[in-house]
Amino acid sequence: MAMRLTEQAYLVLLALADEPRHGYGVVQEVRGLSGGAVRLGAGTLYGILDRLVAAGYAEGSGEVVVDGRLRRYYRLTPEGHDALTAETARLTALTRRADRLLGGITRPGIA
């Protein structure tokens, strides 16, 4: 089942790209990836994770208890990796087009 990737969902997928992470790890990674612009709340994070798992883009990869706190890890599936690659290519193409467009015009001044 394909899923429309919002910016937050894209960032969560990106956070899982290099290694499995638990919920708090994903929040920290997303904050880093977005330069501090996106701060995921737990409710938003788990809504996204639920949808990513339902779409087959991510899956649980085990759980550990650290200092009495349960940490369940999530990892990207091959389908999730494909979706991430496709979305990154789309964003790259969009950025390229935007650069081309912005390079040819001057900044509007105040009359």
Partner: protein, 391 residues
């Protein structure tokens, strides 16, 4: 939750998490509580409002996302139509919820009410009197049939059919141990019933202006209405006082001995369960239905108040003594039926297995398609499940 999360913080999170479906909370609440504890400032004892509202929104979004479409939902509620198997987990939450039988009652109430009020459109007077009978009848229906409705919906909604995928909520018909209510729960429920009956009888005996009377006229038995005299009221309260005395005597000289000397037999096919939310709902419905019935037929209620007050008053000391013995571990009676058998000096009998439903995931892995007749069978049984155990 583990020792790493402050219990007060975990409780605070637990309150906000009620926005999520029960099945979601059962599997994820520890995990999300740990994440929230990681995100919260050190030493936080409650979840901040912003995070709480975030959970509230996300929880309801989860409910909305997993809810069946409106038409399918209406078919499920009004006509008990089977939902698509992808909503099986939702259906299980609904069927196991404490409000399931109440909602079932409300649907029946609304349907009958709508039919009964149709003639009003033609100018007939509204049938207000219907409420007097319908409400107690339906409450007593919940008490008597609540378990049956639930079982019927499990059979219709949760049993996996050939060709469908096994989900955690999927069920298969099977033979299961017989559930019996655990002794302490049973005694607590019996005490609530006895106290309520006694209170209702006291009110009826003190205030009822008339009571039903029985007149024998040759071969005919006639019910008449007679005024409640002061003597009759005094007789009612006197009988209740006698009941208390008899109950105290029984509690003192018989209860302890009977419970301690009672010998249970092995019960391999018994499953001792607490009363639980479903049992409490049915108990409350039964009490409410009885009270409304007393309002509907006040004169008959006044007549029945005499014996009922006596029995309820006598039961209270017996129940209190029984509770003391059970709490002290002085008896082999562990379920309500054991207590009744012990008090009645009946020998114990072994329960037999009964028809019921088992988790389908104990048979096949979650996600496996249930084989159709003629398919090669069970290539991938659940690890440690029923099939593997049998091999």
């Amino acid at each position: 939750m583990g020792p790493g999360v402050d219990p007060a913080f975990a409780r605070s999170v637990g309150r906000w998490l009620r926005a999520y479906p029960r099945r979601w909370r059962a599997t994820r609440s520890d995990e999300i509580t740990a994440v929230l504890a990681d995100l919260a400032p050190a030493g936080a004892r409650r979840l901040d409002l912003r995070s709480g509202l975030g959970l509230l929104g996300a929880g309801w979004a989860t409910r909305w996302r997993e809810h069946p479409p409106l038409l399918a939902y209406l078919g499920y509620v009004a006509l008990e139509l089977r939902l698509d198997p992808r909503y099986r987990d939702w259906a299980r939450d609904d069927i196991e919820g404490p409000w399931f039988v109440v909602r079932r009652w409300l649907v029946a109430f609304a349907a009958v009410g709508a039919i009964a009020w149709l003639p009003v459109l033609g100018g007939d007077p509204p049938p207000v009197g219907l409420l007097t009978w319908w409400a107690p009848a339906m409450l007593l229906g919940i008490a008597a049939l609540g378990g049956h409705w639930r079982t019927r919906m499990v059979a219709r909604q949760l049993v996996v059919q050939p060709g469908e995928r096994v989900t955690p909520s999927g069920r298969i018909p099977g033979v299961v141990a017989r559930p019996r209510i655990e002794a302490r729960s049973w005694l607590a429920a019996a005490r609530v019933v006895a106290l309520t009956v006694l209170a209702l009888c006291a009110v009826v005996l003190a205030t009822a202006p008339h009571r039903a009377g029985v007149v024998l006229d040759r071969a005919e038995v006639q019910l008449t209405s007679v005024p409640m005299s002061a003597g009759a009221r005094a007789l009612g309260f006197g009988l209740a006082a006698l009941g208390v005395l008899a109950g105290v005597a029984l509690a003192r000289w018989a209860v302890g001995t009977r419970l301690r000397t009672w010998r249970p037999v092995p019960q391999p096919y018994r499953w001792v369960v607490p009363l639980g939310p479903h049992g409490r709902t049915r108990l409350a419905a039964g009490i409410g239905g009885g009270a409304l019935l007393a309002l509907a037929v006040p004169e008959l209620a006044a007549l029945l108040a005499f014996p009922l007050a006596t029995v309820a008053a006598g039961a209270l000391p017996v129940l209190a003594a029984t509770r003391r013995v059970v709490a002290a571990g002085g008896t082999g009676a562990v379920s309500g039926v054991d207590v009744v058998r012990a008090l009645r000096r009946q020998a114990d009998r072994a329960d037999t297995a009964v028809d019921g439903y088992l988790p389908a995931a104990d048979w096949l892995r979650v996600g496996t398609v249930v084989p159709r007749p003629g398919d090669p069978v069970l290539a991938d049984p659940a690890p440690g499940g029923a099939v593997e155990r049998r091999r």
